[in-house]
Amino acid sequence: MINTADILETINMIRQENLDIRTITMGISLFDCVSDDPKRLCANIYDKITKKAEHLVKTGEEIEKQYGIPIVNKRISVTPVSLIGGAHKEETYIEIAKTLDNAAHALGVNFIGGYSALVEKGFTEGAKRMIHTIPEALACTERVCSSVNVASTKAGTNMDAVNMMGRIIKETALRTKNADSIGCAKLVVFANVPMDNPFMAGAFHGVGENECAINVGVSGPGVVASAIRRAGDCDLSSLADIIKKTAFKITRVGQLVATEASNRLGVPFGIVDLSLAPTPAIGDSVARILEEMGLECCGCFGTTAALAMLNDAVKKGGVMASSHVGGLSGAFIPVSEDEGMIHALEAGCLKMEKLEAMTAVCSVGLDMIAIPGDTEEAVISGIIADETAIGVANTKTTAVRVIPVYGKGPGENVRFGGLLGYAPIMDISTVSPLKFISRGGRIPAPIHSLKN
C-alpha cells in the first residue's frame, strides 16, 4: 500500500497549495503547409492544426480526471510563421494570424503561439514583412501569441530589430488601446529563445523539432512556499535541499502527465519545462517564496540572491525527475501575474532596476510589466537592449514583455483579467537612449560564444 502520509501530502499539494500542470502544449510543424497561393496556405495550416490537435483538449481533460490534478491550459505552438509565409505579402501574414485564431477557437485552446520571427543576426525579407504585421495581427485576433528573437549568445544582438521592436510594441499598444493595450501581453521579445518552450506568450515549435511534439509546463510556487514555511528556521543549505525535493515531486507529476498525453495522442514526448509559474491567485506566487525565505518584501536587497538560489535548486531538483527537461525551466517573475510581485510594487519596494537584476538569475526576463503609455519607443528599445545584453552575456534566455498602457500613467492600474492578472503602472526612467539605439547594426557576439 502507498504510504498514507504521501497520499495526504499529494492531495494537500493539489487542493491547498495550487499544484497544477500549467499547460500541455502541442507543438506542430507547419513546414508542409507552405504554398505560393495564400488561400491554399491558410487552408493547409487550418487543416493541419485542427487535425493534429483534434483530441488535445479532450485528452487533457481525461488525464486531469485520471490523476486528479488540474491541467490549467491546453495550448498549441506552431513553426514560426515568418518561415512559413516568407514568399508572401503582409496581407497574407494577417490572414495566417486569423487562420491560427480560428483554429484555436475551433479546438477550444486558449492560446496559440508561433506568430514569430527569428532575426538575431539579420532579417530575411519575409521576416521583416511579418514583424511589421504584428500590431495588426494582435489587434484582429484574440488567441494568437507573437514573439521575436532579436539576440543570441552565438549571433550577438540585432540592434536594428531591437530598434524596430520598440516601435512595434508601441504600435501594438495603440492598436489595442480599447482593451488596455492587451496586445502587448501577447508579444515577447527574446534573447536566446528556446525552441521547445510550452509557455505563452513565447511558445513556438522550433526548426529542429519533431513533426509534432507534446511539451508540458508544470507549476507549483505555492507548494514550494509551504515547504519552506514548514521547514522553519533552518540554514540555507537545508532550505536548498527542501526546494530541490519539492521541485522533484512537482516535476515528476509533469513527466507523468507528459508521458500519458504523448501515449494517448500518439505524439512524441518533447520536454517537461520545470518552471515555477505563478498566477494572480493567493498562494501561487514566486515573490511570496522569496519572502518565505526571509525577505521582508520582494524587491529589497537580498532578493537577487534568494531568487538565484531558488532558481538553481528548482533546476537541480527537477532535472532528475524528467527524462527530457527543456523550455525555460526556472522561476518566472511576471509582475502582473504574481500576487506577491503586485503587492511588492504597490508597497514601493520593487523597482524596475531590481527587476532587471533579478532577470539575470531567473528563468526568463522582464515579464508582464505595465509601463506608462507615453513611454518613448527608444526607451522601450533600451529596455530590450539591456535585457538582451544580460541574456547574451550569461548564455541564458531573457525576454521583454512590457505593456505601455495607452492613455495611462504611473500610479494608475491596469487589469488584463484571467491568468494575465493586473498591475499598477510602473514609473520608469524617461532619459533617452535614442542615439545609441538608432545607430543600428549588430552588437558582436561575446568572446565566450567561441567555444569550438
Partner: protein
Amino acid sequence: MKAVISVTGRDNVGIIAGVSAYCAEKGANIIDITQSVLQEYFAMIMLAEIDKLTVPFAQFVDELTELGKAKGLEIHTMHEDIFNTMHHI
C-alpha cells in the same frame, strides 16, 4: 490498475458502507483500507482495483465526489500512478 480513494470529513454512521457499496456496484475491488477518527474528524484512504470497472473511470470519479457531497464529505479519487511517481524514484 489501482485507484486511491481518499475520504475526509465529519464522522457519521455509514461512511465506509456508503463508499464500499458504491465501489461494489461499479466493479471496483477494494484491496486495502486505512482509516482513523480524530475527535470528530474522519479520514479514510482506500485502495481499489479498477480493472473491471463497469463505468468509465471519469464517471467513477465524479459519482464518488457527488456521493461525498451528499454526505458532507470530501472524496478524491485518483489513479495510484500519481502517488507512485511523486514519492518513489
